[in-house]
């Protein structure tokens, strides 16, 4: 992406609270109409980053540019940004209708238009019959929807949503997710959504930034961050993964052989150019990329390992196996149940000796972090 089509630029932004660095030298470019997700554990600085975009915190250093304008001196009420607060921040003395309409109150529009807009939003979040209620008379999920509607009301250029769907049940959550995607597609609003639910980030976002302790670890499409993680943190944070320490023994034609003592086998995997023989690396395979079988594979040393089924979890559409290796390590294997079989006729069962194999392209090599 070139600098020109980025709508929001975050340049080397750092935020310190006293000595504590909450956001550490973050740079991001987000283009217009993008649905961008910030994903990370609790306390990693997601809210702080949003608050800087909204203007409630001043960066200790760095710049924020929105729509070509440096936000340095722009007050929160003049920014083309609306935020949905993690704590909802609904006005307790106003009813649902007034809360949602608050941003429109001082807008140049007729009373009729304002009413119309509020009732559209009420429909959108399915709170029509609660219009006259005060926030304390609503459930957690209903409050969250009011907060969402209030942030949407002014159709801002940028919407910052801090955990927008956390308190909703699964069905309403999915519905609202699609609603958000619709809004984003129809209105071309740029969304930045904070979440610590990776599945939500995957469904919603066109790109995801993974944060850890104030640092952006990786930015990419859902496929990028899932299939091609660049750090142990990302690999571990997104989805589940089997990760081992290893040493590179040889590199040839973009493929490396890695000896992972704990796994008791050699990995062969594609590597990026920087990696050379003798490097300490992490090697990882996602559970669903591993085949499990009782029969002996062609190669018994490369991308293959033997173990004993310790646990078997049957989840209907798939099954999860925990396999104990000779070294004592556990590997998780996830298989789709693509055939209908009786329990007694299972290919692989408890306590079976099994072979685990995977494709060379499935293994991920993660360079040691500095």
């Amino acid at each position: 992406m070139t600098a020109d089509d980025s709508f929001i630029r975050i340049e080397n932004v750092t935020k310190k609270f006293g000595e504590f660095v909450a956001v550490d030298n973050v740079s991001l470019d987000i283009s217009k109409g993008e649905l961008f997700a910030l994903l990370g554990g609790s306390g990693c600085g997601k809210t702080t980053l949003l608050r800087m975009l909204a203007g409630f915190e001043t960066p200790t250093s760095g710049r924020i540019i929105i729509d070509g304008q440096d936000m340095g001196d722009v007050q929160p009420f003049n920014r083309p940004v609306n935020m949905m607060f993690q704590s909802y921040a609904l006005f307790p003395h106003m009813n649902v209708e007034k809360n949602i309409g608050y941003g429109l109150k001082h807008e140049a529009m007729s009373d009729g238009e304002r009413k119309q807009r509020v009732s559209e939003l009420l429909d959108l979040v399915q709170l029509g019959q609660f219009a006259a209620r005060k926030p304390h008379q609503l459930s957690g999920g209903q409050r969250q929807r009011v907060a969402l509607a209030r942030a949407l009301a002014k159709s801002p250029k940028v919407l910052l949503l801090d955990e927008p769907l956390g308190a909703l049940d699964k069905k309403l959550r999915e519905q609202t997710q699609f609603e958000l995607i619709n809004i984003q597609e129809e209105l071309g609003v740029t969304f930045i959504v904070v979440t610590h639910d990776q599945e939500e980030a995957m469904t919603l976002a066109s790109r995801i930034a993974i944060m850890d302790r104030g640092v952006i670890k990786q930015v990419g499409t859902p496929t990028d961050v899932y299939e091609f993680p660049t750090s142990r943190f990302t690999a571990d944070f997104i989805g589940s993964i089997n990760l081992f320490d290893g040493t590179v023994t040889s590199v040839k034609a973009g493929k490396a052989r890695i000896n992972a003592a704990k796994a008791g086998c050699t990995f062969e995997a594609p590597v990026s150019p920087g990696i050379k023989s003798g490097d300490a690396v992490g090697v990882a395979v996602r559970p669903e990329k591993i085949s499990i079988s009782r029969s002996r594979p062609k190669s018994t040393t490369v991308n293959a390992v033997q173990g004993e089924v310790l646990d078997l979890g049957y989840f209907g559409k798939d099954s999860l196996y925990r396999v104990k290796l000779e070294s004592g390590e556990l590997i998780r294997v996830n298989r789709v149940n693509d055939q209908r079989v009786e329990e007694a006729d299972r290919q692989v069962d408890w306590d079976d000796k099994v072979w685990l194999t995977w494709d060379a392209n499935s293994a991920i090599v993660l360079p040691e972090e500095p």
Binding site: Q75, P76, F85, P92, K134, R150
Partner: protein, 313 residues
């Protein structure tokens, strides 16, 4: 004999366990809730009853200086005389009006001064906040009377303020500040300001900061945010502070006596004179009862309003 003794032991045991059970079930709650009522009964209702009795008695040269009526006719006659004064003699109703006016104006000034101060304290952080709060409470560590006397020294014709103004040439002759309503306002606002600041502070301090942020995020300037969010949410604090200033200010005695004029006394002064100069306890009691009624009505309205607000919020 032994049978009897056994019986009485067992019955007292069941009694005790019954009491214990009552305590465990809801007794404690009742006792705790009952304490304020007991307090009110002892220190408010009982004295009020005594004052009532005196108010319907007849003034007399005796000790105590009143005669309790023992017939219906006497009672009616006494009520007519004692309360009749309050209606017919302008001294009393101007006293009431004067008190209400001075209390109301002082309350408004306390609010105008106290709100920004409370707001500032609530917005300040940690150590500063504690120091500011301490400064608000600090005057209480000196005697109230001394502090009012100090104002005499400041406001007098040869007082500090006049001397300073004369020295820097703003005025040519000393201003008459002592023994004016102005001095009374100064005294009352000065003395009661902490009672306005503290409840307002308690209210504003609890105000969720993200609410004002949300308002600004939705395009409101700080001024508009204040009017739309902060002010309405601080109404309970404003009402509480105003009550705490208005009610005692209405009955204020010391400040108007020391700083004010003799020509238009507040009702506290009238009450005092009636008791100690005229030794007319029945009329004095009547004055006190009417004052109480004047104040009870707004308090009840306030309570009603608060209960409703809590029910809705």
């Amino acid at each position: 004999m032994s049978e009897l003794a056994g019986k009485s032991v067992s019955s007292s045991a069941t009694q005790r366990s019954g009491f214990q059970r009552w305590l465990n079930r809801n007794g404690w709650r009742k006792i705790v809730a009952g304490i304020p009522y007991f307090w009110l009964l002892l220190f408010f209702l009982a004295p009020f009853f005594i004052v009532m009795v005196i108010a319907v008695s007849e003034a007399a040269y005796s000790i105590p200086p009143f005669k309790i009526p023992f017939s219906w006719e006497a009672l009616q006659a006494n009520i007519a005389t004692n309360f009749g004064y309050l209606i017919n003699d302008s001294l009393y109703y101007t006293g009431y009006l004067n008190s209400l006016k001075i209390a109301a104006i002082s309350t408004v000034f306390c609010l105008l001064l106290g709100y920004p101060m409370a707001y500032g304290i609530a917005r300040s952080s940690g150590a500063t906040r504690n120091i500011l709060l301490l400064l608000v409470i600090l005057p209480f560590w000196t005697s109230f009377l001394l502090r009012i006397y100090a104002w005499i020294g400041l406001l007098g014709t040869n007082g500090t303020i006049n001397n300073v103004l004369l020295a820097i040439g703003i005025i040519d002759e000393p201003l008459q500040m002592m023994n004016t309503d102005f001095a009374v306002y100064i005294g009352i606002v000065y003395s009661y300001l902490p009672f306005m600041i503290l409840p307002l502070y308690a209210n504003l301090e609890r105000l969720d900061n993200t609410l004002t942020e949300a308002a600004m995020d939705l395009g409101s300037t700080p001024a508009r945010t204040f009017l739309d969010v902060t002010l309405p949410l601080s109404v309970p604090g404003i009402v509480a502070g105003s009550m705490l200033v208005f009610i005692p200010a209405t009955g204020e005695y010391v400040i108007p006596v020391l700083l004010g004029t003799g020509s238009s006394p507040m009702i506290g002064r009238v009450l005092f004179d009636e008791f100690f100069l005229n030794t007319d306890w029945p009329v004095a009691s009547a004055v006190a009862i009417v004052l109480l009624l004047l104040l009870v009505v707004p308090i009840m309205m306030f309570n009603h309003y608060q209960a409703r607000a809590e029910g809705v919020e």
